[in-house]
């Protein structure tokens, strides 16, 4: 399959079309909206479902060296990508130190919904992946926050409120934020109950998954449009970063995944984890820790530039790269 064919298969999936519908409706200022509580409920559903699925998959596999290496790779990406992003944001996007540190933290962390969308894409292409990557995803949520705060205090004299003044609150925000607890918790539940134990809840968590993802992406489209309309701080340099950083990070992730011996589907998902940017956990932590960094910069960049790029173009692009790297078909 060529890149064009892979991209078309992705773009014509119901989930991506639902995202496009939300985006267009939002940009056209339609009064279409998804109730806030429903959006949050769907996010909980998707995170629980993907966590459970990963746990069940791991319960059926033997732990091995590749699993340990995948965890280390995830941590290396989580700690390393913000350092790269920070340099690019300072030099190319010309952001001040605090803003660059805050944005870098977003690009070192991950987006669960991008992962879920990629997982569905991988399934549609017949690509299997290692279930423990869900746990790797949860591990990758937080290191970038720590690195972002370190960058701000190391390189910025006016780094806002130092993390130490926020004490336990910030630490709790970083390590016990809802998405991490939910992903890890559901993963452990799946691991404990196994395939047969998860069978009774499968109609909810398997059967409805694709439909809920559609509705959730519709909401994400609406949110992205709203963020795009209010994004006055996005210069072309910053937008360019939001578009070239994901493929760059994905290439690094792919190379790492291939080096440690992950499957082609696994490599695609690691690439997506590397490429995606957080818009839930990291913004909340950055608001507490770096108040001088404007959320009007990093939320639209992550949610309205990088997220749409990844789900529409990035995923098939990384899949094609993975296929090329593994010498197979996308």
């Amino acid at each position: 399959m060529t890149l064009l064919e892979t991209a078309a298969a992705n773009l014509l999936s119901p989930a991506i079309l639902a995202f496009a519908l939300g985006l267009l409706a939002g940009l056209a200022r339609s009064d279409l909206s998804v109730p806030e509580a429903m959006g949050k409920a769907m996010a909980i559903y998707l995170m629980f479902a993907i966590g459970l699925k990963g746990g069940v998959a791991v319960s059926e596999s033997e732990p091995g060296l590749t699993m340990v290496l995948a965890v280390l790779l995830g941590l290396a990406l989580g700690f390393g990508l913000p350092l790269l992003a920070f340099q690019l944001l300072r030099r190319q996007a010309r952001l001040d130190v605090v803003s660059a540190a805050a944005v870098a933290a977003h690009y070192g962390s991950i987006s669960v919904v991008t992962f879920v969308t990629a997982e569905q894409f991988a399934a549609s292409q017949g690509l299997a992946y290692e279930g423990y990557l869900v746990a790797v995803m949860a591990l990758m949520e937080t290191p970038a926050i720590v690195v972002g705060l370190w960058l701000a205090s190391r390189f910025g004299a006016e780094a806002g409120v130092p993390a130490k003044r926020l004490g336990g609150e910030l630490l709790r925000e970083i390590f016990l934020n809802g998405s991490v607890v939910l992903l890890v918790g559901a993963f452990v539940i799946g691991l404990l109950v196994g395939r047969s134990g998860a069978e009774p809840v499968a109609p909810l968590f398997d059967g409805l998954f694709k439909g809920v993802l559609c509705l959730f992406l519709l909401d994400m489209g609406l949110l992205a449009a709203a963020r795009l309309r209010g994004a006055r701080l996005l210069t072309w340099r910053v937008v360019a970063f939001g578009l070239y950083m994901p493929p760059l990070a994905a290439a690094i992730g792919l190379a790492g995944a291939a080096a440690i011996g992950l499957s082609q589907g696994g490599a695609l998902l690691v690439a997506v984890l590397a490429a995606s940017a957080s818009y839930i956990a990291v913004p909340a932590a950055m608001r507490l820790a770096l108040p001088k960094a404007n959320p009007g910069l990093y939320v639209p960049l992550s949610l309205a530039v990088t997220f749409p790029f990844n789900v529409a173009i990035g995923i098939p692009l990384y899949a094609t790269l993975a296929a090329w790297l593994y010498g197979g078909a996308a």
Binding site: A43, V161, D219, A226, M286
Partner: protein, 102 residues
């Protein structure tokens, strides 16, 4: 009917900060408080919207009614806490019926 003079303090602050602000007013002697969500707004620091999946842009409002002697310590501590953050603080005189509750 007999009424009693109190101070009503209203804070519109970023959602992420609300737990710390609530703890602060309780530590300073407030006997109760109310937190209400906001739909949207704008100040000199920029606009905010209702909290959605990305919570960093949302704001909430804290309403607390206290004895005038308690109001100043709360305001001083809140001012220090909120110095670097987007926030609006309102102080007004109100009358209450049940003095022991505030």
């Amino acid at each position: 009917m007999q009424t009693y003079a109190k101070k009503k303090l209203e804070f519109v602050v970023e959602t992420a900060l609300m737990p710390r602000l609530v703890r602060l007013v309780e530590e300073q002697g407030a006997k109760g408080f109310t937190v209400v969500p906001t739909q949207a707004g704008e100040s000199v620091d920029g606009a905010w919207q209702r909290d959605d999946i990305a919570p960093a842009l949302g704001a909430q409002m804290l309403i607390v009614v206290v004895d005038p002697a308690v109001a100043d310590p709360i305001l001083e501590a809140a001012y220090a806490l909120l110095a670097d953050y987007r926030a609006q603080i309102f102080v007004s005189d109100v009358e209450v019926l049940r003095q022991d509750r505030f």
